[in-house]
């Protein structure tokens, strides 16, 4: 009898913990399109393509009836880069990073670039932290360290499409 009582108590407690934990059971897709630029002339090796963005994620969730408090996390689900035809075959790899003034830089995606690819799908990192904080800060930075095979006289432009998943729980 005592064992049964203890079991019921444990089960109730576990149910309560699970019910109260902020597990996300809903998600919305949020896309950022931006051009990352490294101003030429550029030398062979790693060059920094960057863009300062003002994310409108706050407006987006408001339009969708979601409050910031409901959001459990924001994760990058896909990242792709379209390369200008003039820069085709010059790129070796792209390492994508994001940060803001108050939150540290983190690697979020990477790709080795093959020849004749004008569109590259980057592999997204498993470990992603503080993206919610970074995107909600207003001003944030997206950086692509682009390794190029040879010197380039012109600018290097990467047209990036970043798709984020906003994971939230119901009110």
């Amino acid at each position: 009898m005592k064992l049964l009582q203890t079991s019921i108590l444990c089960f109730s407690l576990l149910s309560l913990i699970v019910a109260c934990s902020p597990e996300a059971n809903n998600s919305k897709e949020f896309t950022i399109n931006t051009v990352l630029t490294a101003s030429g002339p550029l030398f062979e090796g790693s060059n920094t393509c960057q863009a300062e963005i003002s994310s409108n994620i706050a407006e987006y969730i408001k339009e969708n009836g979601i409050t910031k408090e409901q959001i459990v996390d924001v994760t990058l689900t896909s990242a792709s880069a379209t390369i200008d035809t003039s820069n085709l075959n010059i790129l070796e790899s792209i390492n994508l990073q994001v940060f803001s003034d108050n939150f540290p830089m983190q690697n979020v995606a990477f790709a080795n670039v093959g020849d004749n690819n004008d569109k590259v799908d980057l592999e997204v990192a498993d470990v992603q932290e503080q993206l919610k904080a970074i995107l909600f800060e207003g001003k944030s930075y997206i950086i692509a360290d682009a390794t190029i095979k040879e010197d380039l006289d012109d600018d290097l432009n990467l047209n990036m499409e970043l798709v984020f998943s906003i994971n939230y729980h119901k009110k």
Binding site: S46, F99, P104, M105, A125
Partner: protein, 159 residues
């Protein structure tokens, strides 16, 4: 009245001139002095420190041994805790991140240093004297860290 107008005009002119000639705060306070090319004491790599936004970052731009002896391919971040990021090349890797300059203490702090040989990340503080950087990496307590000395590499500009 004419004197007042002349005075206001002069002040406005001086203000305009100073606005065009003054530099951003970080240039004036010495924060940007850290920018450039540096070599750690072991001479295995060269790191370019640059500024993005208001923070400073250091990227590996040269490796004495760029190829992994095991694979004979360019070295990658094989010790990264995130398996998907283990193909990121070490050449171009940002091993110094998120440093903010404090003009009072003359330190670049609040950042991290990554050791690609072990995959470990440390808190880090940087000081500079006479083109030499003291890079102190630590876990938790600064006093229990280790300091490495980096020297500046001067590059001759192409004519």
């Amino acid at each position: 009245m004419k004197k007042i107008i002349t005075l206001i005009g002069t002040l406005a002119l001086l203000f305009t001139i100073s606005s065009f000639t003054s530099n951003p705060a970080s240039v004036q306070d010495g924060g940007d002095d850290i920018m450039g090319l540096w070599e750690p004491s072991n001479g295995k790599a060269r790191v370019k420190i640059e500024k993005i936004g208001s923070k400073y970052y250091g990227k590996i731009v040269w490796l004495r041994e760029p190829l992994d002896p095991a694979t004979q391919k360019p070295k990658v971040d094989k010790n990264n805790e995130d398996e998907k990021m283990r193909n990121v090349p070490l050449r171009g890797y940002r091993m110094l991140k998120d440093f903010v300059y404090d003009a009072e203490s003359k330190e670049w702090s609040g950042g991290t240093i990554y050791d690609p040989e072990s995959g470990s990340l440390y808190s880090c503080v940087v000081t500079m004297e006479n083109d030499v950087l003291d890079i102190r990496g630590y876990v938790g307590v600064k006093a229990l860290g280790r300091t490495d000395t980096w020297k500046r590499i001067k590059i001759k500009k192409k004519n």
